[in-house]
């Protein structure tokens, strides 16, 4: 019997979709009770007025370890150490030797991949499936890819003799802690620079484990320095007079402050900032695949992704179908223990972030949005947010304009391709976008009209070390990854 649209089978989840727990064991990993700063190849205690702060597991709210808070004085010591390492060792090495050190780092990460994945999931809350299959393999790949550039830079910049900049001060966010470290450190070292890196205050552990790995790799002391802390530590790093280059990934607001504070200096900078990507679904798209893409676009890493597809634009003719399939699909998503291999959505990174997301959800409802959440259960302890969809929202709604950085999708419809492009581009951001259609020529037309740095056609949230990443407009300045990602660390 032919099925009509209204007569389609409905998925039944009753009792059939329960999985037994399948937690990844954390027995084999070692985490110290307290971590010092990593400066000049050694772990050193913070200076006098320095103190330690706790890093907690967001899925249990339990303390994992305490970590030093670097003061302005500590940052100064770290920058001096990086300068000394630059003058004394790193700038004197041949490109070939630099390459070999970076290759060595890549290999050590591969060897210890599982350990890094587990700690990443414990400290940050992301599902082990992602940290194990996405984050850490990409970390190793970033070092491996950039290593090979170290002795080939003259081929990357025709007509020029590339030179390093000197000391790079780098500040990274909590959503992809070790991956962002790799995005920052790998090209910096390949370009011949030394670095001082500050991990985010809620996710410092994998960076500190990376510091141990730097010791194992026998890198000259001071080439890589890790200073932990919060905003004040970052500010000290950005404003240190002997830093030649600042690289920041984080919110647009902090990016603005950094760009302003660098005014009047000759420091080079790259900023990878916020986004509010539109995922555009045309009527001629493969709808089931598009639904998978929407889910991956907004629920990957709890939506803590600057390039998340947080706005869905669906062409009117398929809007009902897409919405129905999407609400069905999110029922199957498992929210819970990040270390469980069945988990799709882990813990929200911090209490502060959960509060921010909740505030936006309340605002979305107050402004007239129609909210729908998955009926899944969440653990009692820890920070959790169910997959959330919003219909009946328009361009001016705060959940359409602002980056929420959580598993919250704003759904709008459109009639014509021009309308889709207009709506997609109508935010101050321009980091990423998605286009779903089976028509090749339409893909090229729409992707060329979107004002954003990374566009996924019939796919979403794909990353690769060879693929440049970065934003237009208020989503940032400069690119990371690929050949284009070398330029910010090079004097031409």
């Amino acid at each position: 019997m032919a099925r009509t649209k209204t007569d389609q089978p409905k998925l039944n989840f009753d009792g059939l979709w329960d999985y037994d727990p399948a937690p990844e064991s954390s027995d084999a990993i070692s985490i110290k009770d307290q971590y010092d700063l990593f400066i000049g190849g050694e772990f050193v205690a913070p200076s006098k007025e320095g103190r330690y702060f706790d890093t907690i597991n967001p899925s249990t709210e339990e303390r994992i370890a305490s970590v030093a808070e670097a003061t302005t004085q500590d940052v100064d010591i770290a920058v001096k150490s990086a300068r000394k390492a630059y003058d004394k060792y790193w700038s004197k090495l041949t490109g070939k030797d630099r390459a070999k050190y970076i290759f060595r780092i890549a290999r050590l990460i591969q060897e210890r991949a599982r350990e890094f994945a587990i700690i990443e999931s414990m400290d940050g809350g992301k599902p082990i499936r992602e940290s194990r299959d996405v984050d850490i393999p990409l970390v190793a790949a970033h070092f491996f890819y950039n290593a090979g550039w170290a002795d080939k830079l003259q081929y990357a910049f025709p007509g020029r003799q590339p030179k390093p900049l000197g000391v790079a001060g780098q500040i990274i966010p909590w959503n992809f802690p070790l991956l962002m470290l790799a995005w920052k450190i790998a090209p910096a070292l390949a370009g011949g620079n030394t670095v001082v890196l500050k991990p985010a205050e809620t996710t410092p552990l994998t960076a500190l484990k990376f510091a141990e790995l730097i010791q194992d790799a026998d890198l000259p002391p001071g080439v890589v320095n890790i200073v932990t802390g919060a905003g004040a530590t970052g500010s000290a790093l950005v404003n240190h007079p002997d830093v030649n280059k600042v690289a920041f990934t984080g919110s647009t607001n902090v990016g603005r402050i950094i760009q302003k504070s660098l005014a009047g200096t000759d420091k080079k900078y790259t900023l990878e900032l916020g986004g509010k990507a539109a995922n555009i679904i045309f009527e001629d798209a493969a709808i089931d695949q598009a639904v998978e893409g929407i889910v991956n676009g907004i629920f990957f890493n709890q939506g803590h992704v600057c390039c998340a597809g947080s706005r869905l634009l669906v062409q009117e003719g398929v809007a009902d179908e897409v919405y129905r399939k999407l609400t069905d699909r999110i029922e199957t998503l498992v929210v819970g223990d990040p270390l469980d291999k069945n988990t799709d959505i882990g813990a929200i990174n911090s209490k502060a972030q959960l509060d921010r997301i909740s505030t936006f959800i309340e605002k979305g409802i107050a402004e007239g949005g129609e909210v729908h959440q998955s009926s899944c259960s969440v653990p009692d302890k820890g920070y959790w947010c169910k997959p959330t969809l919003f219909k009946n929202v328009s361009q001016s709604h705060s959940i359409v304009q602002n980056e929420i950085f959580g598993p919250v999708l704003a759904i709008q419809t459109f009639r014509t391709p021009a309308e889709a492009v207009e709506k997609a581009n109508n935010t101050p951001y321009g980091l990423s976008g998605g286009v779903w259609t089976d028509k090749g020529s339409k893909i090229f037309k729409i992707t060329s009209k979107l004002r954003a740095g990374v566009i996924w056609a019939n796919t979403f949230n794909k990353f690769d070390p060879t693929s440049p990443f970065g934003g237009y407009k208020e989503s940032g300045v400069g690119r990371e990854g690929g050949l284009h990602g070398l330029l910010p660390y090079i004097k031409l």
Partner: protein
């Protein structure tokens, strides 16, 4: 027979393809070294800048949408027209204080620079693009696209060659611009808009204002619809102000310091790249 009475030229600013006076009606008097009056020029205002900005934004899609080949021909056309008016520019540069020999060399260099960047219009994309060998089954490529609308603040002392060297790489890359000409060389800058006007450059692609840098620099760097600022002034306070204002909406800030715009180091595609955004697109490879 009596001596023929000269026809004096009115120097106007150039907004959206039209020669207009400042909305304010205010003017500045240009004098030569010995203090003789050369001309009155417009003292442009914030409102003039905003109008120019609207024109530049309006022209941006059309200009970047032209074929690279066509943009190259238009830049080359500018060189042709400038070549045809060589004598006029040599004369004006001399009035502005250059020696005859220097004026001649400068006009020639300006023409050659336009030809140089005309040639890049359909080539820089190939130099700065890449096909990226990603691990997954995707065809992944990166290409440059114009940043958008650029504020160009020419140096006080920069002359025709400085002006051309700043405009050419910006428009070669498909951007549109609002330019504040150096005050001392406002005459030749205004005359250069006549070259623009008769070279098939679409209205609004290049807008040229004259006036006081001190009055306009803040607006030109803070306007929220400007995507990038190109300046060459090394005075620390201006630099700081420009960079601070840029942070309002994360503008791209490009600083090109020089003591000689004639230098060949100002001829390279990396200046074009400064005003480009790299877009990376992922396509699945499957049947």
């Amino acid at each position: 027979m009596s001596k023929r009475l000269d026809v004096l030229k009115t120097y106007k600013i150039y907004i959206n393809g039209q020669f207009v006076r400042s909305e304010s009606g205010h003017y500045l008097t240009l004098t030569n070294k010995s203090g003789e009056q050369l001309a009155n020029i417009c003292r442009s205002t914030r409102k003039d800048f905003r109008q120019a900005m609207v024109a530049a934004r309006g022209a941006q899609g059309g200009w970047s949408g032209k074929t690279a080949y066509n943009r190259g021909q238009i830049l080359y056309r500018m060189a042709e027209i400038l070549e045809g008016r060589r004598a006029q520019f040599i004369h004006e540069l001399s009035l502005e204080g250059a020696s005859a020999k220097k004026a001649e060399a400068e006009v020639d260099a300006a023409i050659d620079r336009l030809v140089y960047f005309a040639g890049w219009c359909d080539k820089y994309q190939q130099i700065f693009s890449s096909v990226n060998p990603v691990q997954s089954a995707h065809f992944n490529f990166s290409t440059p696209e114009p940043t958008g609308v650029v504020s160009i603040i020419a140096e006080e002392k920069s002359s025709l060659i400085g002006l051309v060297s700043m405009i050419a790489p910006v428009i070669a890359g498909g951007n549109t611009c609002v330019v504040l000409a150096g005050q001392r060389n406002a005459m030749s800058a205004c005359s250069f808009t006549e070259v623009i006007h008769s070279s098939d450059v679409p209205s609004g692609v290049i807008n040229v204002l004259t006036g006081l840098k001190s009055e306009l620099i803040s607006h030109m760097s803070s306007h929220m619809d400007i995507n990038a600022i190109f300046y060459t002034d090394s005075d620390t306070d201006s630099k700081k102000l420009i960079q601070e204002n840029a942070s309002l909406n994360i503008k791209r800030v490009v600083f090109e310091e020089t003591d000689d715009w004639m230098d060949e180091r100002h001829e390279n595609p990396y200046i074009i790249l400064d005003f480009q955004e790299i877009k990376t697109t992922w396509h699945p490879v499957s049947v």
